[in-house]
Amino acid sequence: MRDFLSTYWLYIKTFFKSRAEYRVGFLFGMFANFYCYFITFATYWVLVSGIGGLAGWGFEDLSILYGLSLLSYAVSGTLVWYTVYHMGEAITTGMLDMYLTRPCGILQQMIFQRFGDTFLGQIIVTIVFLVVAFVNKVEVLTWYKAIYLIFAIIGGILIQIASMILIGSLSFWILRSSEFGEIVYYDIRSMTQYPISIFPKWIRIILTFVFPWAFINYYPSLILLNKVETTMEFVLGLLSPIVGVVLLFISLKIFQIGLKKYSGAGN
């Protein structure tokens, strides 16, 4: 682990050094990111002020709901979005072959290869809004909730990483897997910006048992904000971190299978 971190750190330093030339562009990009998501949060505020909340969810509640989703997405993005999610590119450009001739794990190399600097803006915005929201709702935060929050964030990050690895791995079988990802991962997941209780039951089932995006933010939010109404919801909330671990495991397996297929093992 220490080797991984110290190597990653060197790659990150090297990456920022190479970006130093484009300092203006870099700062501008970060600001644009920051601004863009700031606006999204502001939209909630407008929504709430205008119609007095959404199904009983106030501004702080929505901030926390969205914040959990965005934070986990951005963190996973800094690690794997540019490379693993776009595995198809690595294949067609021959980078994958280069990785295969080096004495290091393929996924590791892909993480090293490109640090997702553009996600930093999102991370900063989200943390700001999460902190503000929790400060305003400090009454819900007991010490065991705080511990759960950490696990929920980690679980969310794992689910997001697993999704990016999974979608990238599809490139071993189909071309342009990121188009498929657009629909399944981006469009469908965007529904979790809102408390999914506002959607009909069949959508909630899909977001829980088919594409488990609700585990990233919705169920943990129910627990954190004392909005749990049924035992089922409570259980699903507690399961969130575990869903993350299981999904990551599955995604790694599928990646391995895809890589084996690429090399032609087991023909």
């Binding site: 021959g94 001739t101 090399s263 032609g264």
Partner: protein, 322 residues
């Protein structure tokens, strides 16, 4: 046992026939089995300089990829430095260096030295070993001139030298070069060929290169392996290759006055155009000295030139057995 051993290696690809009809694609896909290489047997000793040549799609890249751990053979055994590449990929990776002709591993906006440091970290190269190598390659490849310049400012030849150096930092025993001189101008090609030879001499690194440029093979390699349609057509020393596959040589001569006919036995073709005489012959049947002797008995020569068979012509003939 050589450093590289391939025995009865086969590699087939299952290619999905592209269906226009999406429904058909989902439920009834048809496959085509394409055999990329068939029954390949190769044994390479340490320190050899081997050139793989063959037409596009012949199976050169496939063979190299199986040696370097990228692809797994469908059947047969591959053994490199005592390791089965696809079983111990990372272990083998520590001992081989690969340069892909059209893909650089250097970071574009940064000094060459920065990429070297990343490689040093990735391959866990000792500080002392690293320093020593950088110094030695500075001498051998002239790297020190541009070590601290951003890669984007380098000429193609400099970049190639830097890529070569990068692949050698970890002291690999085998160096795989995939089309190393592609796209380079004549002067730079010569430089790179010199350097490959120097490296092989200095470090006894086994060098395997694939190329379409016959001069690469002529100037660098001591052994040619030619692959066509997935099979080895030729495997042996360069001289042996020349001997066995003598093409047509040609003598061009200019006489002092118009000549109507010339009689020379055992040649393939004689053409006369006023004072210009062209004689095509196979040097296994008759050598140029005999021809010139014969020619001088029949006329006075003002000027004469002998053309050896172009290896390119020989290759073209072999390639055309498609």
């Amino acid at each position: 046992m050589g450093v590289i051993e391939l025995k009865n290696v086969n590699r087939a690809f299952k290619i999905t026939k592209r269906e226009k009809n999406f429904i058909k694609f989902m439920f009834h896909r048809q496959f085509e089995i394409k055999e990329a290489v068939r029954d390949i047997n190769i044994s390479i000793e340490e320190g050899e300089l081997v050139g793989f040549i063959g037409p596009n799609g012949a199976g050169k890249s496939t063979t190299i990829k199986m040696m370097s751990g990228i692809l797994v053979p469908s059947s047969g055994s591959v053994n490199v430095l005592g390791i089965v590449p696809y079983e111990k990929r990372k272990q083998l990776a520590r001992q081989i260096g690969v340069v892909f002709g059209q893909r650089s591993q250097l970071w574009w906006d940064l000094p060459v030295a920065d990429t070297f440091l990343l490689i040093k970290k990735l391959y866990e190269i000792d500080d002392i070993v690293y320093q020593k190598n950088v110094e030695e390659y500075s001498k051998l490849l002239g790297i020190d001139e541009f070590l601290n310049q951003p890669v984007r400012q380098l000429s193609l030849g400099q970049r190639m030298r830097a890529d070569l150096c990068a692949a050698l930092l970890h002291n690999p025993k085998i160096l795989f070069l995939d089309e190393p001189t592609i796209g380079l101008d004549v002067i730079v090609k010569k430089q790179i060929r010199e350097m490959i030879k120097k490296i092989n001499e200095a470090r006894n690194v086994t060098v395997i290169l694939t190329t379409h440029d016959m001069k690469d093979v002529e100037e660098v390699c001591d052994r040619i392996i030619m692959i066509n349609r997935g099979q080895i057509v030729l495997d042996g020393a360069l001289e042996k290759f020349r001997e066995e596959f003598q093409g047509t040589s040609e003598i061009e001569a200019v006489t002092d006055k118009h000549i109507s006919s010339i009689d020379i036995p055992n040649v393939e073709h004689i053409s006369i155009d006023d004072c210009n005489v062209k004689i095509k012959f196979n040097s296994r049947k008759i050598n140029s000295a005999e021809i010139i002797n014969c020619l001088m008995k029949q006329c006075t020569l003002v000027h004469m030139q002998i053309h050896e068979p172009e290896i390119d012509d020989i290759i073209r003939n072999l390639y055309s057995y498609k």
